[in-house]
Point group: C2
Chain length 191, copies 2
């Protein structure tokens, strides 16, 4: 919980009394690896702060999983559009590894927004960050080669994600075939 | 200006004193049709509330314009990722028709965030709305047919945009060839 407190102090200058309000509303949850936390068609009730673990979001396209996001220790994750709009999710949220998270429900977030502008600020920053992330990804999917995409991924993503997300999951996220990713990785390690 | 006041009262329950603070910071600008307001490579200094007019954002792909967003009277527009991150824009913002807008600079927004949680709320709502819009568009681009895309467009977008944005601009937005859009429109008007 200390990690979240530290992040929120840095990010939104949360005071001790504000932290105490939030702390009491957080619910700690433990999930085994490969647990589905949010299913397609269900409304995402919560956003999760990852204390320890590795998670991904994905959707199904013609029966195939297409990864859209990875997050690990110290990061937030949800089926974000479902969470903010409170409409059925088009995605799944699943743990890749055993994970411990703190969940914040939509009702709690709405309540927090009324308590302090700091929580509105948190909501704004999360929304802006998610917007920039999806815009950046969409743009790079269009303009980068497979090798450029992979180099950008290992450069921009958390080390834990780069090292511990299985290669076929990364390939699915980058929109390239697993064999192409293997070729790219061989080429990079040679050059 | 009354329109903006009304929208903000509904959206973020802006009080009269808060409105007066904002009002003094708005700068009215007039642009002729086909004026470029933000260029690729430049940082978007402002977000614009459209009092009257029609605008679009687009980027260049292999020298071709690809539309990403349209907005008209009563709506906000900018090169949004550039505005919130204060990094060079990948897009152009251009008027389609003569337009009157109220501009709010990034510096002003930052100042407003500190004054009242209502402005943080506005920032959050704009970011969430933009996020949902881009996610929705990306998803529909992947799963809908040309006809479904067009029906979704005329159903979901403001009437003024549907009626007054040139057809080739709509085709570019929907990611379909202008000839395909003509075929779709003929098919819809017959059936």
């Amino acid at each position: 919980m200390d990690e979240l407190k530290k992040i929120l102090k840095d990010l939104i200058q949360l005071t001790e009394p504000e932290w105490n309000i939030l702390k009491d509303k957080l619910i700690r949850k433990e999930f085994k690896a490969k647990s589905i936390i949010i299913r397609e068609g269900k409304i995402a009730d919560c956003i999760y702060f990852i204390d320890k673990g590795l998670l991904r979001t994905y959707f199904l396209q013609d029966g195939k999983e297409v990864n859209t996001y990875f997050a690990c220790d110290g990061q937030f994750i949800s089926s974000y559009s479902s969470f903010i709009s409170q409409t059925p999710s088009h995605e799944y949220l699943e743990t890749i590894e055993n994970s411990s998270v703190y969940s914040i429900s939509f009702a709690t977030m709405t309540e927090l927004y009324k308590i302090s502008s700091k929580f509105e600020k948190l909501g704004r920053i999360l929304a802006e960050k998610n917007y920039l992330c999806v815009i950046d990804r969409t743009r790079k999917m269009q303009i980068l080669t497979a090798e450029q995409k992979y180099l950008d991924f290992i450069d921009g993503y958390d080390k834990k994600i780069v090292q511990r997300v299985p290669q076929h999951q990364i390939a699915s996220y980058l929109g390239i075939a697993p064999e192409s990713l293997s070729r790219v990785r061989r080429h990079i390690s040679i050059s």
